[in-house]
């Protein structure tokens, strides 16, 4: 370990692309710089943006490591050979096998639970009950009230596709999303987009990760938000970190992975408003998440392999099905890309 630290210090620099919330990203980078004296710069980009950038740069990446964001796009670029494997020492603390890539292309750092966030005041004003499960979202009274993220740009929305296909079967899952589309007002570019608009009432029902909802309630003071865990079960994402193939500072990058898998890094998450469950046995779980009734173990069995292998096809199928059903998928006001 000390060898690695010395080698990393000799490189003296690290560039991070982060797909978690910017506050967490910035805190994590600042701490790394402070601990090891390595100059750390970062840029916050959504997973889709990082994927596009890394593919374009094809082995000559402008950053060294990727931090945060759901694993589906990690798997895509790993399959394209654009990530470097690294067998992390601290990986011994990872609690489950699914929380890391079989060939060590990425390591999990947190997990988040998919669910609904609703604005209680708005629902009261309209005299509506909050949806309790996935099929409830299709009710006609929720027309124009639901926000989701864009299937093309957000890892969160890709998880929604996989979840529905695994839950209801391929054809029925896609049919569900086509039906859901009739109630959806906006597809935001970023996965946390809906959560940010629930409190102000711009969005009444948001689909996304519930830890984003906790941030809005605890850190930003939106007491009118209620979190709902779908009663028939939901899935979870894994947030990961990885080294880009061709990284200019390979040792600093490896040290970053060790750091990201240590309490030093992950324990500061809830201080800056990121309430995901942690996947390390020596880390402190965020109490706030339990207080809101979330439980990392109460999720459906998720077939990560199928998700990784087929998500590209699924996204295309869904977009085609939406277009065939009469949705204008080119309308960037609704399917937001910016």
């Amino acid at each position: 370990m000390q060898e690695l630290i010395d080698a990393a210090k000799a490189e003296g620099e690290l560039v991070v692309y982060g797909s978690c919330e910017e506050d967490y990203l910035s805190a994590a980078c600042a701490k790394f710089e402070q601990l090891y004296g390595i100059k750390t710069t970062f840029q916050r980009l959504s997973t889709g943006e990082v994927q596009a950038k890394i593919e374009e740069e094809n082995g000559n990446p402008s950053a060294d490591v990727w931090f945060g964001g759901t694993t589906d796009p990690y798997n895509v670029v790993a399959a394209e050979g654009l990530l470097d494997p690294y067998e992390a020492i601290n990986a011994s603390h990872i609690t489950k096998d699914v929380y890391k890539h079989a060939d060590n292309m990425w390591h999990g750092i947190y997990t988040g639970i998919l669910g609904f966030m609703v604005n209680k005041d708005e629902l009261d004003r309209m005299g509506l009950e909050a949806p309790q499960d996935w099929p409830d979202l299709l009710k006609p009274e929720y027309k124009g009230l639901i926000w989701l993220s864009n299937y093309n740009t957000a890892g969160t929305a890709k998880l929604v596709i996989n979840t529905m296909i695994q839950k209801y079967g391929h054809d029925e899952g896609i049919q569900y999303l086509v039906d859901l589309d009739k109630n959806i007002e906006v597809y935001t570019k970023s996965g946390s987009g809906p959560s940010k608009n629930v409190g102000t009432g711009e969005c009444t029902i948001g689909i996304g990760f519930l830890h984003d909802g906790i941030t809005q309630i605890l850190d930003n003071g939106y007491g009118n938000i209620e979190l709902i865990i779908p009663s028939s079960g939901t899935s979870c994402e894994i947030g990961a970190t990885a080294i880009f193939k061709g990284a200019k500072h390979p040792n600093a990058a490896k040290l970053w992975i060790e750091y990201a898998l240590s309490p030093d890094c992950v324990n500061q998450a809830d201080e800056v408003g990121s309430y995901q469950f942690l996947v390390l046995d020596n880390a402190e779980q965020p109490q706030a998440a339990y207080d809101f009734g979330l439980d990392p173990n109460n999720v459906m069995d998720y077939d990560f392999e199928d998700a990784t292998k087929n998500i590209g096809t699924y996204v295309e199928e869904v977009m085609t099905a939406l277009a065939n059903a009469g949705a204008n998928t080119g309308d960037t006001g609704r399917f937001q890309t910016e």
């Binding site: 710069t41 596009a52 374009e56 409190g199 009432g201 003071g221 007491g223 800056v272 609704r334 910016e338």
Partner: protein, 587 residues
Amino acid sequence: MAKSQSAALDRKKLMADPIMVGTIIVLIAFLTLFILYPLAILLVDSFYGGTGFTLDTFKRIMAMPTFITAIGNTLKVGFLVGILSTIVGLLFAYVEVYVKMWRFVGGLFKVVSMLPVVSPPFVLSLSMIMLFGKAGIITRQWLKIYDNSVYGFWGIVIVQTLTFFPVCYMMLKGLLKNIDPSLEEAARDMGASRWKVFATVTFPLLLPGLGNAFLVTFIESIADFANPMIIGGSYDTLATTIYLQITGAYDKEGAAAMAVVLLCITLGMFIVQKYYLEAKTAATLTGKASRGRMLIEDRSVTIPLTILCSLATLFVIMMYACVPIGALFPTWGYKFRPLTFKWFGQVFSRYHGLQAFRDSFVLSLIAAPITALLSMIISYLVVKRNFRSKGFIEAVSMLAMAVPGTVLGVGYIRGFSGGVFHTGFLQSLYGSAAILIIVFIVRSLPTGTRSGISALRQIDKSIEESAYDMGADSFKVFMTVTLPLIKDSFLSGLVTAFVRSITAISAIILLVTPSVYLITVQINEFAEKGAYSIACAFATILILITYGSVLLMNLFIKYFGTSRKLKPEKVKKAKIKRIDIRVVKEG
């Protein structure tokens, strides 16, 4: 023969002055490298496809429906904003110059014309969303309208009109003041109604000026990046499309070609405005009215106009006031009380506030004196000296005025990311703080140069010539004679450059790297994320810094500027002389 002889003499004189020659060479190098070259590389990039001349890139972007829509959108918005700003500006200018009104209304006008100058460009978009958006204070909380959307065409038009009409107001005010009242009084004496006088005398005299104001606003609107970015929603304009083409689609060639299209549009308008309308305006309205105007006191005119204008100004002031107040709400859109300073705290504790303010402040502070000095040197060379590349220097420094920030940004990316002509030369510039300073300088240079030229034209050549005769070299003459004489213009150029730099966004958002924090970039980021309270807190502090600096500079100018006693007299004399000449010509 005599002419060529004198030219030869001039050249000889110039060559004997190494400081002058050195300055000119450095200037030409600077202008070529940082204005001409980035624009040229855009052309090269979009026409050169690896093997030779090609139109493929243009064909590709022209086939993008989003791009064609964006051109249409941009022109539509620009046209309407141009017209609306000119009308509102004319109304304000007319009321101020022609109508007797209460003192405080005049004060309001001053505030309104000052506010857009010291604010970062997108504060009005922010307040528009906060006041009238779907979760807006006025729409949702007060009027209980739950689905009002401000995003899109009308949002941009309203916000841009409010941002740009003060420019029209200032331009038209100057022109109206120059109209000789006797012309209108003659018409009144012959029995024409006020309306008829306005329609048949004042308006025709003003027409080229109105056209000028319209085009200036049109160009500003087309070049505007910040407002469409925040309030445009899915309504893309050229500036935002180019930005997204780079940051979203990583298509730099496509963006370069788009930038060329945008540049052609603004350049074409700029040429019409500068060389046709400005000349025409000058022909109908130069000099100064020979005496004061009898103000309209008729209550049936003054009361409605005063009320209309006061309401309009109060509306604008409310829009600006929304920003500092919005920064105090504990939970935007949900809990408005008790007011809190926690967002201001977070700016510094969480979001690198101190670093952002320091970086913005220091970079602008470095850029401002360089800009002011450069523009004074350029105007000195243009007005006072004769040499071959003079036309080039003047044209290029003015050209920068017609280049939208986004275009310049793309040009810098294409021109410097791989070094000059992709050779690696000056590559280290890219991504550094120095390139931001250069962008600041280039962006403020035209305004400084313009004011420097007009200041210098009022100074007689003989003053400097006598210094030369006594043996001073050009550096000494410039520093000890010319510069002190145009100190006011220099200092105000300094302030303008500082304010423009610290509030700039369009070009630098493409060039800034994670190692430098700039306030405007931060505001843009938080506003886009919907974190309005933080964005407002940043914007409030920025406005305070800018306004504070302007006040300080003004104080400074008051104590160290040119002595006030002499100047008005001198100017008046010069003006009267010009009017006499005009009268003779017309007679």
